[in-house]
């Protein structure tokens, strides 16, 4: 089984979010970048398929050379090869077109992407890849088993979960549950050394228009101080929620 794991290069959750160039660009100054958490759960599940079922795992990112350390980290965790499509990731649809082109060209059986990235939160790339290459698609995937050409997945739904059966080629939008947080791997020295020897191929992008364009970013207005209510006066809390906040 050939697996392609899509890796988004995102600012760490604890990063300060600021914008430059008249609030049109994310300010990367001093920002620590990591593998998108939803993608890391998928990558770790891919490692399981590699170790238990002999799968071959390639990781891929759409972005400039500055994203390569994130791909190297994925190689150090255990992926066999990496691909970087050399173009700025500016909108979900155009990124999906780049990824779909590689997925189709490389004849991958399973494409694992995170349900959404923690920077733009579009939640569209996995489904768009599936639509573009006409593969089966399971979103919000929290469990995946593959047996030959058949796959069984569990999908989180509003208020519960459902078990589905499908077949390869398959794209999933993965999240926590594919593996648990305690299963995530920190690259060890041997992995880091081996990652240096593994192939990282840089591909030219295919033509893809931006179907959406960012115009500007803004930060939420600073929040007022919390209004404290004494635990001996909870009638006041009920009254505030009813009369002031108007939420009950």
């Amino acid at each position: 089984m050939k697996i392609l794991v899509c890796i988004s290069h995102v600012p760490d959750t604890t990063s300060k979010i600021n914008f430059t160039e008249g609030d049109t660009k994310f300010d990367t100054t001093g920002v620590q970048f990591v593998i998108n958490p939803n993608d890391e759960f998928g990558l770790t599940r891919a490692m399981w398929f590699k170790e238990k079922q002999g799968a071959n795992v390639t990781v891929i990112n759409v972005g400039g050379a500055e994203t390569e350390p994130t791909l190297r980290k994925a190689l150090a965790i255990g992926a066999d090869a990496a691909i970087r499509v050399n173009t700025a990731a500016t909108d979900g649809f155009s990124v999906a077109k780049q990824l779909a082109h590689v997925a189709k060209d490389g004849g991958y059986d399973l494409v694992i992407a995170g349900r959404e990235s923690i920077d733009y939160n579009g939640g569209m790339v996995p489904g768009m890849i599936a639509g573009l290459i006409n593969a089966n698609f399971v979103n919000n995937c929290i469990n995946l088993e593959v047996d030959g050409n058949k796959a069984t997945a569990i999908r989180e739904i509003d208020g519960g979960k459902e078990t589905v059966s499908t077949s390869l080629p398959l794209v999933i939008g993965g999240q926590k549950g594919l593996v648990e947080e305690s299963d995530l791997r920190i690259p060890n020295m041997r992995g880091i050394m081996m990652a240096r020897q593994k192939p990282l191929t840089v591909l030219d992008p295919v033509d893809a228009n931006n179907e959406t364009s960012s115009v500007k970013f803004e930060k939420p207005a600073p929040k007022g101080a919390v209004k404290l209510v004494s635990p001996d006066n909870l009638d006041e809390l009920v009254s505030l929620l009813h009369n002031e906040a108007k939420v009950i």
């Binding site: 604890t14 639509g131 698609f137 069984t152 208020g159 589905v164 919390v226 939420v247």
Partner: protein, 325 residues
Amino acid sequence: MTKEKIMSVLVYTESEQGKFKKIAFEVASYAKAVADQLGTTVTAITINANDVSELGNYGVDKVLKVSNPQLDAFNAKGYTEAIQQAAEKEGTKVVVLSSSANSKYVAPLLAVGLNAGYASNVIEAPSSTSPFTVKRPAFTNKAFETLTINTDVKIVGVSNNSFGLVEKSGSASAEDFSPTISDLGVKVESVDKASNKVSIADAEIVVSGGRGLKGPENWGMIEELASVLGAATACSKPVSDLGWRPHGEHVGQTGKPVAANLYIAIGISGAIQHLAGINASKVKVVINSDPEAPFFKAADYGVVGDAFTVVPELIEKLKAFKAQQ
């Protein structure tokens, strides 16, 4: 230009077991606002909904009613085919969906099918329809992004509880619509869903518990508070990691996102990953014995006190309040 010449806005109004979900009326209200800006009408597509007349109260002019047993269980590919064919039949330029798990599953497939740009989690009516400009949260609620959708056909996913319901007096005409559904590709084998509980996605109020509650045996008061408020229950990540509560209740960055009108956090300190996931909620209340808990900086209202005395008392006060209403 006359009304007929601008193609109507298409809205997918979701139902469950034949009944509309509340978000169906919210997306219909949103579609009506877009249609008013464009000077056109609203067409809704329903899949196996029973009584579609209610949609007329939220600005829908016409309903394309799909009744197809193949689509009894939700299937993203099949639902996409139905909505795509409705959009093509109507010559629609704007398609509106919700941010439910199912709609977010369908929208990217629909975007490919209609070659349409898609903006998800949109929180306001478009600020302009030419260029088509909408606003959505980004960086997990730490910022807002204003973006344009550049394609001829546009897809808008409306963030739940962001636009609200706008009632209009009107009536909707209904016609049967029979799209061609091909091989579905993914088959539902079983569904595990608590039918008597409000889901986090559908809830206007969410009551959430953290490690401060000390153990799963203490969740009775969380359930009771939620039941008094008609709220969904949720929990922090450590609580689901410890197995005190099911994973499906975990809210935060790697759990479910929450965009409720009221979020009540009990015994949750407020780690940055937790706050990121719930920050889209309009009003936040924190109950915590530690006045230094970071959640107090993110909350609108706070009670510094022991949850084991505050929550039962709050339940009594709310019951008395509800009895007066």
